[in-house]
């Protein structure tokens, strides 16, 4: 194993999904016992890169990838994750893949249990052999010791603290026979500081024993502490590949987000006046799986476009979902100083708030129903519009005519490409579906419009149109818009103020023209290096322009 050639090297790997390029000729090498820190914004291509390395079927299904992966000098093609596992590449995902009812040992050696042949083997096949529990325990314990942590080998995973679960999963990956490369995807996301510290210790210990590690995290100071080399991905390009020594967090942050500020941001007119305070949120917590909001307070003025950014999993999506009552939430939300009852979507809608959900196909649309249905439904349910009373108001029927005219109106207004109001929603393209969701929200004539990831997964042309529609509605009808997006450029081009969420709290609120690196720092949840303990204080609302 001593040869000095790289254990793994990627030669101009690139990948595109349905036309938009996700990775552009990424090159980097990785030597034995080296820890490589891989950083980048969401959508920069980190996950896709790992999927290629790990041979996930989704890559082959979407047309495979260009370039080559060289392991130990020969080019390899993994058709399934099991090939990668056999080649000694282990992967630890963010969400645990452990069997709750099994003990640590059973999880570590899952499906690779050591067995003693039993009498029924010949008759009924190898799976009838008896498990050799002592050998299993021994294997588990030496994997745990390799990690250098104390884990009780017989404790049930369901009764384990979160940190132990993470170590169990890592122990499982390194307990494979020839595990040489370990990929960790956001391992410290769910750990407390002390647990993260112990994890980094064990990763260094593993590296000394010759295991190469790819460490993906958005906590930049952890990357700087543990990595030997850092690769920064931005929009599918490996923009930086530098040894870690001497690199500061500020550099990484700016490399991560450092795109030249796109031109159309500059035409924002400064003369925009805002009315008085319309929406104020105090101490909001939202229990949305994967997007937990811990304590958020902010205020939005009438006619303003308020942006909310931040990395995935930090809780920015939780805010609109919580306020609109879709997920369990607490704290106080006031519209025109009138308290909005939480946890009941009907209350938020009746008060004049509307929400375009990030989960377009899951929450936003009735895929099997026609377009007029989709657009008029919420208005019908909330404001009892588009209904015609029958038998003297005894009950009311759907006003099919009214719904069709409403739908036609929005088809022309938002230039939705479709065959007509009666077409099924599932037959439309991503961009047009998003416009239907927007039309559904506009039909409510809301005072405050929450828009979540409006441009995710749609082509560039449609993106521009959606943003223009939002601007037009804000200018002509004065609708206050709260826009949540992981596309920092988009927020900076359309919003009047941008708040960055980290760990379920507001890390800071910046004017769109603020320097990119400042955004990067807030997103990375940088604690100013001096007092590492306290979370970044909720910066006071920076004076705009």
């Amino acid at each position: 194993m001593g040869q000095n050639g790289p254990l793994l090297s990627l030669k101009n790997v690139s990948k595109e999904f349905y036309g938009n390029v996700v990775l552009q000729d990424v090159n980097f090498d990785l030597h034995e016992g080296e820890i490589l820190g891989l950083v980048g914004e969401n959508g920069a291509g980190k996950t896709t890169l790992m999927r290629i390395l790990f041979g996930m079927p989704v890559i082959a299904e979407t047309g495979g990838f260009k370039g080559s992966i060289i392991l130990d000098g020969q080019e390899t093609h993994f058709s399934s994750p099991f090939d990668a596992l056999d080649a000694g590449i282990g992967m630890v995902h963010q969400e645990f893949s452990l069997i709750p009812g099994f003990t640590t040992t059973e999880n570590i050696v899952l499906n690779r249990e050591s067995m003693r042949p039993s009498v029924l083997n010949d008759a009924f096949g190898v799976r009838m052999s008896i498990l050799d529990r002592t050998a299993m325990k021994k294997r588990a314990e030496n994997a745990i010791s390799k990690l250098g942590v104390k884990l009780d080998a017989d404790m049930l995973v369901s009764e384990m603290p979160v940190g132990h679960k993470q170590f169990t999963e890592i122990a499982r990956e390194i307990s494979r026979e020839k595990s040489r490369l370990l990929v960790l995807d956001e391992p410290t996301a769910v750990l407390t500081e002390s647990e993260a510290e112990v994890l980094l210790q064990s990763l260094r210990k593993l590296a000394k024993e010759g295991v190469a590690i790819i460490f993906i995290s958005h906590r930049l100071q952890e990357v700087v502490e543990v990595a030997d080399r850092i690769v920064v991905l931005r929009d599918g390009l490996a923009v930086k590949d530098v040894p870690a020594s001497g690199v500061t967090i500020k550099d990484i942050a700016s490399w991560m987000v450092g795109r030249s500020v796109s031109s159309d941001a500059s035409r924002r007119d400064e003369t925009k006046k805002y009315g008085e305070k319309i929406l104020s949120v105090e101490g909001l917590w939202v229990d949305m799986p994967g997007e937990t909001v811990r304590d958020v307070s902010f205020e939005v003025k009438q006619g303003e476009i308020f942006g909310i950014g931040g990395l995935a999993g930090q809780g920015k999506l939780g805010i609109p979902n919580g306020i609109m009552g879709l997920y369990a939430a607490g704290g106080s939300v006031r519209l025109h100083d009138k308290v909005i009852e939480l946890n009941t979507p009907a209350a938020a809608l009746k008060a004049g708030m509307a929400f375009v959900s990030e989960d377009r196909r899951g929450v936003g649309l009735l895929l099997d129903e026609s377009l007029d249905w989709n657009i008029a439904f919420t208005a019908m349910q909330v404001h009892k519009q588009y209904l015609k009373p029958v038998l003297g108001g005894l009950f009311s029927l759907r006003d099919e005519g009214g719904m069709i005219s409403l739908c036609k109106e929005y088809i022309s207004l938002l230039d939705i490409k479709c065959t007509g109001p009666k077409q099924k929603a599932k037959e439309l393209s991503g961009g047009n579906q998003q416009k239907i969701c927007l039309a559904k929200a506009f039909a409510l004539k809301p005072e405050v419009l929450f828009v979540s990831e409006p441009t995710r997964g749609i082509d560039v042309g449609a993106k521009k149109l959606v943003l223009d529609t939002l601007r037009k509605y804000n200018k002509e009808y004065g609708t206050t818009i709260v826009m949540v997006s992981s596309e920092l450029e988009e927020l900076r081009s359309i919003c009047d103020r941008v708040a960055i969420i980290d760990e379920g709290r507001i890390a800071g609120i910046l004017p769109p023209t603020a320097d990119v690196a400042e955004f990067g720092i807030l997103m990375a949840g940088i604690k100013d290096s001096s007092s590492a303990k306290k979370r970044a204080p909720a910066a006071q609302e920076a004076p705009n322009a």
């Binding site: 083997n121 010949d122 008759a123 096949g125």
Partner: protein, 168 residues
């Protein structure tokens, strides 16, 4: 001897198991098959052999019964090989022989007088013609799933039909 690779070792074991499986079925059939033996104490057709006046016959180790001329009785036995022990009441002579019942022959006729006289075919297959057992009229089996409207019940019979006995 080259170690038989795992694959064809299990093939060998499996084929043995199949043979054993079939063998057990045959053994069960042989030992478990039930036959009925009709025991006769009648004069032979041509009158050459006369019925014995008073004897006790015991099949295998079942109870011994006394037979008088003109008697016929049956013994239900299991398996193929059986022995019969005849004791003539008059002079206490005991005759014991063993005999085999063919497998697929359900019922055989044992003519004891011929047996005692040593005339060979004392054991004859006996096929009873199955008079149509008066099976109860076929009421379509009432599966609990479709009892509903399949059968129109008689108009409100006065006494309640017993509830379907679900639990034996």
């Amino acid at each position: 001897m080259k170690a038989i690779s795992f694959r064809n070792r299990s093939f060998v074991v499996r084929s043995i198991l199949v043979l054993v499986y079939i063998a057990v079925i045959v053994i069960m059939l042989m030992t478990g098959k039930r036959h009925t033996i009709l025991i006769d104490n009648k004069d032979s057709e041509d009158g050459s052999i006369l019925a014995i006046d008073g004897m006790s016959i015991q099949i295998d180790n079942q109870e011994a019964w006394e037979y008088y001329p003109g008697d016929r009785d049956k013994a239900v036995v299991q398996g193929q090989r059986h022995k019969v022990r005849v004791e003539i009441l008059a002079d206490g002579k005991i005759v014991e022989t063993a005999f085999r019942v063919p497998l697929n022959q359900d019922m055989v006729l044992l003519e004891v007088p011929k047996l005692l006289a040593g005339v060979e075919p004392y054991l004859r297959p006996f096929t009873v013609l199955q008079e149509q057992a008066s099976a109860p009229a076929v009421d379509t089996p009432q599966s609990i799933q479709f009892g509903g409207d399949a059968v129109v019940p008689p108009d409100g019979s006065p006494d309640a039909p017993p509830a379907p006995v679900l639990v034996q």
